[in-house]
Subunit: 373 residues, 2 copies
């Protein structure tokens, strides 16, 4: 796959004056439009949207999603679930095979008892046994979703093993409420359609296998923003997209977020022009991460300087290479960076600077920042 | 450079039972030995140690360094300086060309007024002008260090420009107290000796140029753990090493931290073995980062499973590839990961689990976590 991203259109966002860089800027108008767009597309087809909030880790942004039609939220671990539950959100799926031993057993039990509609993923019989033990004696059974591998090769069982594992989980006292998969191989390049087809077919095969085995498991849940629209076919009745809300450079290049759907920017200041042929930003690896898919050149995109490449990152320095005879910013200028991948970037900051029309309207906390387990 | 790291010896650390993974584990016995070793080596040569605390961002760990002989600390930005000053540390160098405009002007001024011995880097006349303006009217002049580029090509001026820029800074009302450089090109491979030689020669040339121009600038400060020992020659009289305290896989492979100097581990749990030929840890990109120099294979080292490769990271998953017929952990097992690069990994966690001899002795906050500007 050749590099195409730097030539893609990304409008230069209007940044407020007086920012203390590096900082995260989120445009609430764009966020709300993104939230409505996907919710509307899925609603028109009768597919539920259960957004993955690991992208933004913000209770308020989750509430924006719920207000325009999301049926509940998805989280990636107990810590995110705890933060969202404390924020008043009462329908939470942990789309992860939580190993409920040690401190995590008590944490899972507390969530199971406190959250009105709660479910957790699993992909093994030992994992199911720990989940059952952690919630034994509760007034109600724990709801679990069996993870299916859609060809991503990360977690999840093959469809032909689904019935045996679901029956085993049921026999341990769990309620198997459905199946889920994550078509993460869509991020490998421009193969979102293939990944979505994999998700549809493997989830369908697993759901069929469970029905034949007598397991009533109505939820058939697919994931990822690239596969969100495409995968809402077949038996899929729930989508867990996350990045669609904020957008990022990866989604822009994959075509799964439109150029006007870019809501998240890292603002940075040019702090050095001492070395010829480059300038240096105060956003380094601790602001942008080194997350860089092979099909992207550099560690983020500068829409105001589209020929510049964020070439090297150290902790607090982003070294930007510029071709000869192209415009460069002056020292002290504040620039907007479109990050390669929103999720790990957001996790580095304590708060978003929330803007509308280039004006600051608030500081929104990244409530679940650092909650990774 | 060929891949050699997985065959390097790294002893399997003793982890406490009952950890809530993923988490950072720091062995205080190893930390103290590392702190003493470098302090002793430099003291024997009359070179001051001013450790860079961006590695650990912990007031208590900085105090460990000061107790065994560090002359002060180095930080990478105003935020780290503020946290360390609030923790009672009164000798702080910001080894960074701070652009003191907007909110940063007031923050810099407050530090200048509050910290007993304070200095900040610069590498341009406009940068010096902002620093002078931010501290004008103070009871004492701001001390600044001119950054010199030792061939790293990031920030810093060439030695032949040093005198002009230093004179300009002095004429604006700043006290030019010295020169500094960061031999970061040592991280590119096994060329620490070459990078150290570059640092020595360029810093020496700059110091000479300043003397000839009549600028009394006694501090000649070199940086980075790989160059720490080697660079303490010539006119260099201060070293700003950081990672030597905790160690990491990169330093181990570069030979700048010995196998018994590895103090920092990420503890993770095996959460899935559903896909054949691999296992999956609950430490992903939000625990390990995607920081991976080209000479390292995978996203960290598992000393207990030295043939395993942490091949792919998503936010909360680390997919570990294992060759056929090698030992693999059971699902639920807790393993220790030696991270590729300590600095950005530490910045993802709110605290360290502090251990001695495999027993938990405390929880130490990562005080300056997320302070990147």
């Amino acid at each position: 796959m050749t590099e195409t991203s730097v030539t893609l259109p990304a409008a230069v966002p209007l940044l407020p004056a007086g920012l203390d860089t590096p900082c995260l800027v989120v445009d609430l108008d764009v966020v709300e439009a993104n939230a409505r767009r996907l919710a509307g597309q899925l609603d028109a087809r009768g597919v539920r949207l259960r957004p993955h909030v690991k992208t933004h880790k913000s209770v308020r942004l989750a509430q924006v999603q719920l207000e325009v039609g999301a049926s509940g939220i998805t989280v990636g671990n107990l810590g995110e679930a705890e933060v969202m539950a404390a924020g008043g959100i009462d329908d939470i799926l942990i789309a992860y095979p939580v190993w409920a031993e040690g401190p995590k057993a008590g944490r899972l039990r507390a969530l199971h008892d406190a959250v009105r509609r709660f479910a957790v993923g699993f992909d093994s019989i030992p994992g199911a046994e720990r989940l059952a033990a952690a919630t034994s004696g509760s007034s109600h059974r724990l709801r679990v979703l069996l993870e299916i591998d859609p060809g991503n090769g990360r977690t999840g069982v093959a469809p032909d093993r689904a019935a045996d594992i679901a029956l085993a989980a049921r026999s341990r006292g769990l309620t198997v409420a459905g199946v889920f998969a994550h078509g993460g191989h869509a991020y490998g390049g421009r193969d979102a359609a293939g990944a979505a087809a994999d998700e549809v077919s493997t989830l369908g095969a697993a759901a069929t296998a469970l029905r034949r085995a007598g397991v009533e498991a109505p939820i058939v849940s697919a994931g990822s923003t690239p596969t969100a629209v495409l995968a809402a076919r077949g038996e899929v009745n729930e989508i867990r997209a996350g990045t669609y809300l904020l957008g990022d450079r990866q989604q822009l290049v994959l075509g799964s977020v439109p150029p006007d759907g870019l809501a998240l920017w890292v603002a940075a200041t040019v702090v050095s022009t001492a070395v010829p042929g480059q300038f240096v930003l105060d956003a380094g690896a601790k602001s942008l991460t080194k997350d860089r898919p092979e099909y992207l050149e550099g560690h983020g995109l500068l829409p105001a300087y589209p020929d510049a490449v964020i070439d090297r990152l150290s902790d607090y320095h982003g070294v930007v290479r510029v071709p000869p005879d192209t415009a460069v910013p002056r020292i002290g200028e504040v620039v907007a960076i479109l990050p390669n991948h929103a999720c790990p970037v957001v996790d580095l900051f304590d708060s978003f600077v929330a803007v509308r029309g280039g004006e600051v309207v608030g500081t929104w906390p990244v409530d679940a920042r650092g909650r990774s387990g």
